[in-house]
Amino acid sequence: MAKNQSELASVLVTSRGVKQKSVRVKKQYKGLQSIMLGSILPIVLITVWELLSRIGFFPSYQLPAPTVIFQTIVGMAQDGTLWGHIGITTYRVFAGFVLGTIAAVILGSLVGFYKKAEQLFDPMIQAFRSIPSLAWVPLFILWMGIGEPSKVTMIAVGVFFPIYLNIVSGILGVDRKLIEVGKMYGLSTFQLVRRIILPASLPSFLVGLRSGLGLGWMFVVAAELMGASQGLGFLLVVGQNMSQPETIIASIILFAIIGKLSDWVLKKVETRSLHWQDRLVK
């Protein structure tokens, strides 16, 4: 609020040409400031951690120094193994995400649009939802072996539920008043879906996609812990078996980075396609 007011004040005093520029510069400045504010704590913590490790307060076989972890990552990058691990893990998440999304879109739209489909599918899907998805793992391994199919399936199952639920609630939640506008213009059911229901439920769908992707990253860890010969989750196992905490922490950090990166991509898509939404500008 205060920020808006000060921007407003500056808008009022400056002339029109200068106005936009000054607002933009101000925004950048604000952005920089918030980044700086947000990084203070991590930097302090990492520095303290490094110092405490150096003086031997943390035993290195339990919690190695940040620089050691960094060197581990650099080392893997240099001998090339890093890219293989990242590549295969990303591929699994991506494949599972795509499969789960497709299934969720098909079933979610059916259930959202047709009362009959809702009565047919929804009770069963709700029942399956109450099973913790990880409980499926042994069964999938039994059915599909320890290879890629069981892993991708597992991730797809995890991705499916949030997307499905959001699609259904998005479709059911479309404002009746807008649908009436479409009806007044004589739109057919198909046109109503395409011109009103889909755009109106898009926000909810995108929310579903983002939480689905988050679960995808969670499930890939589980899948790779179960048995894999490559991947970031496999690095966790290696680190544990060979007592290399730096490998484990390196893997955790890599997970955080690519997870955040993929979420950032979806967020970009979201702001692009939902620019019409009347939301609080942050």
């Binding site: 008043k177 807008l178 009436e180 007044m184 213009y185 009103i196 755009p199 019409w276 009347d278």
Partner: protein, 247 residues
């Protein structure tokens, strides 16, 4: 297009909102529905539009009594109901058919007449309440509907814009001879626009009075005759003890 309501009643969960409404409108007639809040004006309008088909009685549009939306009917709702993901221009062209260029051309004309030229690319969230309502008005008028249903279309607007848009409505009506049903709270508006004013009263709402306004158009706002009509209506609504109302 002729429009005829025969004994239309509507009951919501056992509570009757309107009862035995019968109205006959000649093609090209402008009918005003007047009444206090909650007496069932919107309910009648929704029944005519076909959006609501759970009413009793019969509504015939050009002899067609099917309970469905007729694509020659236009509706201006009590709220703007713009599609938030479309810019102003696409909201106005929403119901139009034909080539893109034609649609844009027509939409621009109507946006100009509601005083919104240059705002084509704005999104609904960037509009003021009155602007949004004007877009909604343009969206309904642009299709030149043969039956035009208006639910308090101008109540969100300032006095001057309101008068302009009333004249715009009359222009459109002049050109296309639409049959118009106008719901309003505003007696002056009804007197300025309508050939006939129907006053609804009570819970459930029933037709109380019908008033034929014979005056030639364009009418003078606030003339002697108008004041006379207004007094009559206020009498019917038992409101005539407030001196400030009669001007």
């Amino acid at each position: 297009m002729s429009l005829e309501l025969k004994n239309v009643s509507r009951t919501f969960n056992g509570i009757t909102a309107v009862k035995n409404i019968s109205i006959t409108a000649e093609p090209g007639e402008i009918i005003g529905l007047l009444g206090t809040s909650g007496c069932g004006k919107s309910t009648v309008l929704r029944a005519i539009s076909g959006l609501d088909n759970d009413y009793d009685g019969e509504i015939s549009i050009n002899g067609n009594t099917k309970k469905e939306v007729h694509d020659t009917t236009g509706f201006i709702f009590q709220e703007p109901r713009l599609l938030p993901w479309l810019p102003v221009l696409d909201n106005v062209t929403f119901g139009l058919k034909g080539s893109r260029a034609e649609k844009v051309q027509r939409a621009k004309e109507y946006l100009e007449s509601v005083g919104l030229s240059g705002k084509e690319q704005l999104y609904p969230r960037q509009l003021s309440g009155g602007m949004a309502q004007r877009v909604a008005i343009a969206r309904a008028l642009v299709t030149s509907p043969e039956i035009l249903l208006l639910d308090e279309p101008f109540s969100a607007l300032d006095a001057f814009t309101k008068m302009q848009l009333q004249d715009l409505l009359l222009d459109v009506w002049n050109t296309y001879q639409s049959t118009v049903v106008l719901v309003t709270h505003d007696i002056d508006e009804a007197l300025y626009l309508c050939d006939r004013i129907i006053v609804l009263r009570g819970q459930p709402g029933v037709i109380d009075t019908e008033l034929v306004i014979k005056e030639e158009r364009p009418r003078a706002r606030g003339s002697q005759e108008m004041a006379e009509y207004k007094r009559k209506i206020l009498d019917r609504l038992d409101l005539n003890n407030a001196h400030s109302y009669t001007s």
